[in-house]
């Protein structure tokens, strides 16, 4: 698209659009299910999105990519044709994407993975059911 990376100073419009599209699709695709203490900021012309617990970053990235490729979803509206997954480099705690050619880093502290997120969610629903059933 261009030799110079978009940033707050250089092409701020595309820079912020990339964050907006990423956040919209993260939410719409459920890619952050189970994540707590969500934070995001920019450094080195890169958007960094970080959470605790929740999915492994590669899981979130894969779900985002799949949702972007599926028809008629809110995530596809936000990211369809605009997301690229970068090869993994930083170990299981990080994943890298490009949205509108802007680098986006997903990072999780103490991730537990989607399977464990689902298990805990079922468990807490069962506890709620049990407490309702109690006389």
């Amino acid at each position: 698209m261009t030799g110079e990376l978009a940033s707050e100073r250089h092409q701020p419009q595309r820079f912020y659009e990339a964050l907006g599209r990423t956040m919209a699709a993260l939410r719409a695709s459920g890619a952050l299910e189970g994540a707590r203490a969500l934070h995001w900021w920019h450094a080195d012309q890169t958007w960094k999105i970080e959470w605790r617990e929740g999915p492994y970053p590669y899981e979130a990235a894969a779900r985002l990519w799949q949702a972007a490729a599926s028809d008629e979803s809110l995530a596809a509206l936000a990211l369809g044709g605009m997301i690229r997954l970068d090869p993994p480099t930083g170990g299981p705690g990080t994943a890298f994407l490009r949205v509108l050619d802007v680098p986006v880093m997903l990072r999780a502290l103490d991730p537990i993975g989607f399977e464990e997120v689902a298990r805990r969610s079922v468990e807490s629903l069962e506890q709620m059911m049990a407490s309702l059933d109690r006389p």
Binding site: E8, F15, Y16, G20, M23, A24, A78
Partner: protein, 134 residues
């Protein structure tokens, strides 16, 4: 303007979300807020941003606007691009970002003062052991 902005001007639509989310996090306007959520409102005309506990929406707006006035980095994303559109109530505040309506919604706000009080109480209960404590 009555047509869906998401369809007619998607760049501005998503740029508005990116700018407001960036400013909210950088200014720490939502500190103490839990279960943050955001979604497109009115089928792609607005953005809705919601949290539980945490500050009242008008308090979050105050922090956001102050960050812009103070000309620090936290205000950069929204400088010159945001205004309040109508009066807030207990659970909602209304902004226009790039002329797009953005609603800040707190379902069970406790207020910035209470957020601070709870943080102080927590610190008093758990004495810090130094920088590694974080």
């Amino acid at each position: 303007m009555t047509d869906q902005v998401r369809r007619t001007d998607p760049t501005r639509y998503y740029e508005a979300l990116g700018r407001v989310m960036s400013a909210l996090c950088e200014s720490q306007a939502l500190d103490g807020g839990e279960r943050l959520d955001w979604w497109p409102g009115a089928g792609g005309l607005t953005w809705e941003i919601e949290w539980q506990a945490g500050p009242y929406p008008y308090e979050a707006v105050d922090v956001l606007l102050r960050a812009i006035d103070e000309e620090g980095p936290a205000g950069h994303a929204l400088r010159g691009l945001v205004q309040e559109s109508r009066d807030p109530d207990r659970h909602h505040a209304h902004l226009l970002v790039l002329d797009l309506p953005v609603t800040l919604r707190a379902s069970t706000p406790v207020g910035a003062r209470e957020v601070l009080r709870r943080r102080l109480a927590r610190q008093a209960r758990v004495p810090s052991t130094g920088p590694l404590d974080q």
